[in-house]
Symmetry: C2
Subunit: 210 residues, 2 copies
Amino acid sequence: MARKPADQSVNKEDILLAAADVLQRNGYESTTMKDIAAEVNLTAASLYHHFRNKDALLLAVLEAGIEHILSQIEPIAVSSYPPDHKLRLMIHAHVTGLTNNTAVGAAMVFEIKSLVSVKTAPDDGRDPEVAERRRAFIARRDQFERLFRAVIQEGIERGLFCPVDVPIFVKTLLGAHNWVGVWYRPDGRLNGDEIADRMADTFLRALQPA
Amino acid sequence: MARKPADQSVNKEDILLAAADVLQRNGYESTTMKDIAAEVNLTAASLYHHFRNKDALLLAVLEAGIEHILSQIEPIAVSSYPPDHKLRLMIHAHVTGLTNNTAVGAAMVFEIKSLVSVKTAPDDGRDPEVAERRRAFIARRDQFERLFRAVIQEGIERGLFCPVDVPIFVKTLLGAHNWVGVWYRPDGRLNGDEIADRMADTFLRALQPA
DNA sequence: CTGGTAATCTAATCATGATTAGATTATTTT
DNA sequence: AAAATAATCTAATCATGATTAGATTACCAG
């Protein structure tokens, strides 16, 4: 086989997208470096030029995912809209974020475990750098949850929402959202926006003061 | 090494419990037959006396899980309680079912994918029997969802619940539930019952007629 | 007891898949 | 266009883990 004139040399972005895609289909452990490489017309070995190893690659996918979502949610969270409107916007951003890129969405839901699992992540493990990034990722995820708690809390304090157990309410909300990434199909009855609307209706109704 | 007088020969039940446990910790692909075997003081090879192969074992875990949950939910679903009370009981049963056995719960959430994945399940695959059981499992899971839809539908028709998009509402509800299996910790602030109560409050409030 | 079946074990087999080594080719920079 | 660097490749290496083969031991029915 002659050397492929390399359509155009591949960059990390491309690889991340491809990886998210394969990851969604097969899950971390079932996904081989070869699978990912194939998606971008490379050989497994070539991937090592771009990423230290498989763990680092998965991590990069998740990092890109959470940063993207946070970049959508944070501006809303810090805005000065009233809590109810703010919450609706945040729900909308999160849900459509998941439906627009189901690959990354599903990866975020299913593969975080690989990040925490003792087996995949012997904390003291080899890569100290990867260990650090892992920590940072978890921190970002927690921050994400805190943004939602804050809006709910604010709404309750202002008497716009009925009092609820905030941590549990937020877990409920986020669980519902994450699940969307699991069942959503682009060819389904509703698109991301429509699903988001209905979910926002549900949760805002649940918060209606008595 | 002398032959271990075998405390007592192990049965499938034991293996399923152990497997669910390991599965929860590591996920299907990361879980080795050896890991599971170790939990019950057997060697990997011995497991093959009880289960055809690794896939069949995973499937058995999931089957046991869904049958258990269905056995809790179905009686409530067919009872003649009013829809609101019925829904509360069903939520309670589902959530505590998940918190009481987080191992199976997490497996049900995370590993169903392995069941559907092309890679793990080349539909035409080897075991025709396993293929059939796989189909049956999916059917059971769908039935489970239908039970929830029916209660909501009934409540709406009787004017006890405000009209909602039933399929989406149920996905929302089940997503929230499933997620509990992911974050719940036995040593957390609330126990399964308390969490279930709060979640039921939330969803029933969301269904309150205007 | 005695044969038969069940449950285990130890020791292969066999395949897969991450990672590394050592070129080779492409692209920039100067 | 020579040197340096980046991006790929092919061909090992190496480890892991599912599954099978061939005993061995435990227990039950007659």
